[in-house]
Symmetry: C2
Subunit: 428 residues, 2 copies
Amino acid sequence: MTEPLRLGIAGLGTVGVGLVRIIRRQAALLEARTGRRITISAISARTRDKDRGVPLSDYAWEDDPVALARRDDVDIFVELMGGADGPAKAATEAALKSGKDVVTANKAMLAVNGQALAELAEAQGRVIRFEAAVAGGIPVIKALTEGLAGNEIKRVMGVMNGTCNYILTRMQSAGLPYDVVFEEANQLGYLEADPELDVGGIDAGHKLSLLASIAFGTRVAFSDMELEGIGRITIEDIKQAADMGYRIKLLGVSRMTGRGLEQRMSPCLVPASSALGQLEGGTNMVVLEGDAVGQIVLRGAGAGEGPTASAVIADICDIARGFRLPVFGRPASSLTDATAAVSATPAAFYLRMALQDKPGALAKVATVLGEAGISINRMRQYDHDETLAPVLIVTHRCVRADLDRAITAMMKTGVVEGDPVALRIEEV
Amino acid sequence: MTEPLRLGIAGLGTVGVGLVRIIRRQAALLEARTGRRITISAISARTRDKDRGVPLSDYAWEDDPVALARRDDVDIFVELMGGADGPAKAATEAALKSGKDVVTANKAMLAVNGQALAELAEAQGRVIRFEAAVAGGIPVIKALTEGLAGNEIKRVMGVMNGTCNYILTRMQSAGLPYDVVFEEANQLGYLEADPELDVGGIDAGHKLSLLASIAFGTRVAFSDMELEGIGRITIEDIKQAADMGYRIKLLGVSRMTGRGLEQRMSPCLVPASSALGQLEGGTNMVVLEGDAVGQIVLRGAGAGEGPTASAVIADICDIARGFRLPVFGRPASSLTDATAAVSATPAAFYLRMALQDKPGALAKVATVLGEAGISINRMRQYDHDETLAPVLIVTHRCVRADLDRAITAMMKTGVVEGDPVALRIEEV
């Protein structure tokens, strides 16, 4: 008779409560599938006296997650508190040092401290699993680490922040401006306490940095990511993009190039008819491209009690089955320190700017582009009430750095008002 | 230093050659990811003297796959010959009895002999892995067995025969009749030697039966599957369905009901705007629904050298990493013998028939449906050159058995010519 696998759960928010529910409801199924009983020994959260809608009195209580992580009756420390540092990191370290495995949903902690934690875990012969940290219920870490293990990964893409995708698709469908939909999302409770984590692309960037590390065998390097939020996307951008057959998505793209690792999380145009283009609301999608398998697309709920808890319990089941892997799929000591490469993969760009409504303004902009070697695919100056003329240009394929130089030159002509918006048209 | 993991590969068609290529090209990557060197000891195929475009002289040759399976220098027997019985089964059994693990892409063998082989494997303490048998490069067995391990699976759906999807989407896009596109597919080499395996739904049915076993913990029961091919789908069906906002797909659906296990592989209507509806050409899609995770959609190439070999090597990597699971995810002895349940989940149906062009004919059909308690959502009699009037009816939600009784009654009215075609409108 195999011993039960005993959990200590720190953090009883949505995901923690969802996990407790699954373990109570599916005890027999989990045992049938893993060959081990999975039990909860102890729990911890900020507030003890709170009705969480699930019976918790069977489990020992710890005020301090570090104490929970060190308990003798805990085999796996389940970290669901969040936060890159502070108690989450302290308790994770304590768990590893006490010889426990760790399962976490904490993308920030791993994006910032992943290498150090992976080294600690591996030195202790322990695992850290984090399927729930990326794209909620979608088993994407598993697909990448195991399902595509024989592939050289060519590109990883993803729409991995449901709130941003909700905002962008709602702007599109309702024809409402960013500020209004942002406020709606806020009222609906979709936004993090610090909204920049969502709309600034930070949360999705954390996730992409973890996927990139697994895909390319590199140390997680969130600080090298090119990061751009959705705050400058206007309803006009969305309408103009739609007119041309595109949708705007906060899209993460990572690939290894001869110059180093490209990692970027930014609003991009993708064809409206593509799987990414058709992704609506809070759903997540990850696209994995391997040299043998071609393109694999995975879609599912990126957040919420059930989906995230589903990913946490999957990691626990793997540990129950004895499946043990290095944290980022290869030994932490073998991960390479990739050079951060500014995106130089050529692409067409969408460029929107406000021009002073005077003779020769458009010509000046076009000349600057031509001098930078960037040719124009289409250009449109559209109606507007104000004195400034909104102008939209779609370039032929070019390199971002050349475009940025052209934009700097444009600003010096004196005919462009404010900062132009440049959005990559990602070939998907 | 860990010992290398040594393969014996039987079958050097597209997939076998693809596997050899990956192992030669990605040796370092595979070792970095699994911690073991993966080598090929011996190979076997029907013909020895044939240029397969990849160097094979380093590997020992066996004429007999059974002898290959028993070699002392083989740790994993890789079965890529195909066929439900015969040499594939004999060699698989020999491998298991000699204490080897087995990796196979053979859906027919497992759909027909899966339970016996699983029992043999588990008695020998060996594993059989078959990711490549279902949906090519998509890691769907892994997603179901491991990624969604904490979920009670509610429904499994899939478009898993690329040839059928090619035929149906090509009929749609080119407006060509079935026979013409079937011949095209034949010329392109898309069809199995026995085309019924493809267009009769047998190949896709094999795959669904394997997924159902894993999803519901039941013994694989391919013989209980409701199977219907695409041979009766006309270009008119496709056009009429498109007019109403649907696409026709050879769709597999399996779910556990209070009455037993539903498994059906049949042409269905799905919304044109759904992920399944938008699936073009030879691509595969599997939809997994779990009580916690909700709906997960997986898309990728369902066949071809690279994608299928990618799935084979993933299974090999799992074995190299020491990941060992019962064949169908739970011990073979614990799999239940599910009652086969004729589909009784209510759905709307698309019904097409040819009526004699005489007064009262339509009324008779409508009356029969009404008497069977089936109400009509829409009805359309459309233009045609011949004396028979094509009539199309979309029912409200009803149970298939009631509809079948109504169809039998219709046929007795004497106004219906030939067999009506009834297609389920699956809610996706």
